[in-house]
Amino acid sequence: MGLTFFGLTPKIAPEIRIRVFTQIHQILFHGKGGYDYNTVYNMPLWLRKFTYSEIQKFYDEEEAAYKNQQSSDNTSLIGADGKVNVQQFKNVSKDYKGKSSYK
């Protein structure tokens, strides 16, 4: 006479449980010490998901910035490691080939 709710089966439940606790772990691990377990465990779901997506966004942006930095390093004569970028050096020195001023 009432609603019939179909919940999780004992087979799927452990899989979902791992997903929940993985998300909590990632917020704690990547949250730069800003969260403790109790706080995340007791967050409303919408807030936990928002926090997780913001952290994910932050790391995505950081990765993009790092990649961008790496690609700009390719045009620098001296790389981030302090070594001469041989390929780039050759490229920019083409225009000066045979035009040395000390002759």
Partner: protein, 241 residues
């Protein structure tokens, strides 16, 4: 570690609390619930609760802030609280497959069913009904969680005696009916259901209860114009499952 206090929501019960005794907090017609957290997801994935079939009761016990006993709730009110819990946990959008098409249903648009308040004596969970074929005048009640548990126990006992019997319907009716022509004796009611209640009358009573009991109206009109009852599937509480 101090616990953050997050806002709660007050949910209006479909019964408006009219059928609960005045000394029961449910008579206010409102129940305060909190937003779902990982604690509730922990409950929903608890193997023991799933196997015992108590997972949704445990979920409600966890989210309800008001000092109520969930076993006092009638089914329709319980349904409203479960739907509200889902909306507060995962939002109002519920994507479900109906007739092979994925339909996006906005759960926040579901309304409580209209019911005839004049048929209720405040604080009394008892309603009169005349059986159409036999013209017997009976009174009936809306089953609470406590009644459901008693019925489950009785059914389990009956199954032990006779594994092939299927007494679900008649056992339930023995608890639903509270008097026969003014006779409130349990023995009389049991005898009536077992020996005198016509199948046509039994069906008419069940249909009457289904149509008139306070509940959430789960009928929605799809874009195609078809009216359907919202099916409650696995992704009701697990949209990402």
């Amino acid at each position: 570690m101090s616990e953050f206090k997050f806002p709660t929501e007050e949910i209006e019960l479909p019964s408006k609390g009219l059928i609960y005794p005045e000394d029961n907090p449910l008579s206010s017609g409102k129940v305060e619930i909190k937003y779902m957290t990982a604690k509730e997801e922990d409950i929903l994935t608890n193997q023991a609760y799933i196997q015992k079939g108590t997972v949704l009761d445990k979920l409600l016990e966890s989210v309800i802030i008001s000092k109520i006993n969930i076993d006092d709730l009638i089914i329709g009110d319980k349904n409203a609280l479960l739907i509200a819990t889902r909306i507060l946990g995962y939002g109002g959008t519920y994507d479900v497959t109906i007739n092979g098409n994925v339909e996006s249903i906005n759960l926040t648009e579901l309304e409580n069913k209209e019911f005839d308040e004049s048929s209720i004596s405040k604080g009394v969970n008892e309603f009169p009904f005349t059986l159409p074929s036999s013209s017997t005048v009976i009174t009936y009640k809306l089953l609470t969680g406590k009644d459901e548990k008693t019925i489950e126990r009785e059914l389990a006992g009956l199954k032990k005696i006779n594994k092939n019997s299927s007494p679900e319907l008649s056992t339930r009716l023995k608890y639903v009916i509270t008097s026969i022509d003014g006779d409130t004796e349990k023995k009389s009611i049991r005898e009536f259901v077992d020996g005198y209640l016509l199948a046509r009358d039994s069906r008419a009573l069940r249909e009457h209860i289904r149509d008139t009991q306070p509940d959430v109206d789960l009928n929605v009109i799809l874009d195609s114009g078809e009216e359907v009852r919202v099916p409650i599937g696995l992704n009701f509480f697990w949209p990402d499952a």
